[in-house]
Symmetry: C2
Subunit: 196 residues, 2 copies
């Protein structure tokens, strides 16, 4: 095993979830596959970072600025859903029912990992609320210690604004069995009960 | 999700063992990682097929022709080990005790999958034996129906040559328990018993 093959295995093995063994398998797949595919993937990788922009409004990443969400005239720019990262944005957007815009924090508050308030994209959110005619900020961070702390941070940051700050509901997932739901989720579901 | 990100996910999802979900994860890893890495991997992919040559002696693939094995003066060119594919070549070579050369078939006889004798790199092997002063051909295909059929094919192809054709041993793997060895392997181990 030499030169180019060795180098390719080492480069691929640096991807998350790809060990040396899978990298070797990928290399043999590439050797068997059409050179056009390797070339197309290679070219796309070379251009990738240059093509991707961070939206100056909401910090979504795409090859447009403003991003497709922010530039969609059919969306309600007065409702902002705050998410931890892009996959979370996609997950909510894929549902198709949310028609507001987003704000991507690119992280959650995690002091033990050295992520403080200044490392999150909160200032831009405050700026958006100050400038625009925003009615509601929905904090859609995950229901974990970090997610809750981040939600509190956002509530505090927007304290002096006349905007409604809400938090997505936590509780028992639809279709799941109470019997198999963890006790903290059950506790939360009881706590957050609502009149019907 | 648009344009460049979408395209990258689709390209990566075509790799074996990489679904849409892992492809998405890889894309976010690439976005977070240094642009240099994406660029290096991209460049390597673009050049990959042009750099790789098939050895005109043994059909090993590397960026040299003859390959590093065939051009190694410390190896014995009179002993040829026949393997199914490059990973098998590497596996035997990694052991470090085999000091002969190789011959890569790039497949095994599999009539049901449309792989016939002409699809395997056997003619070149016969040619090597005819031309060179070869003492032994070790058939190291796997002990499966296809591997055994391929071994028989090679024995027949070399029938008129004065070369010794051998087959690697099958039996109980070192360190494993007889209790957990499958019956066919046990049967083979008994059949191929040798005096001690």
């Amino acid at each position: 095993m030499t030169g180019a093959i060795q180098e390719m295995i080492e480069l691929l093995a640096r991807l998350p979830g790809v060990g040396r063994r899978s990298a070797t398998r990928l290399v043999f797949h590439l050797l068997d596959a059409s050179p056009e595919y390797a070339h197309r993937l290679g070219t796309a990788l070379c251009q990738f970072h240059n093509q991707i922009e961070r939206c100056s409004e909401c910090a979504n990443v795409s090859d447009m600025n403003p991003c497709p969400v922010c530039s969609d005239p059919h969306r309600d720019p007065k409702v902002i859903c705050v998410v931890e990262n892009i996959p979370d944005l996609w997950a909510i957007d894929a549902g198709g029912t949310y028609r507001g815009v987003f704000h991507v924090l690119h992280g959650l508050l995690a002091p033990l990992d050295g992520v403080g308030p200044d490392d999150l994209n909160v200032d831009l959110l405050v700026h958006r609320v100050e400038q625009g005619d925003i009615q509601e900020v929905i904090v859609a961070t995950r229901p974990s210690v970090e997610g809750e702390a981040t939600a509190m941070l956002i509530r505090q940051a927007l304290e002096e604004q006349s905007v409604k700050v809400t938090r997505i509901a936590s509780g028992i997932p639809l279709g799941s069995e109470l019997e198999y739901t963890d006790s903290r989720t059950l506790e939360r579901a009881l706590q957050d009960r609502k009149e019907i």
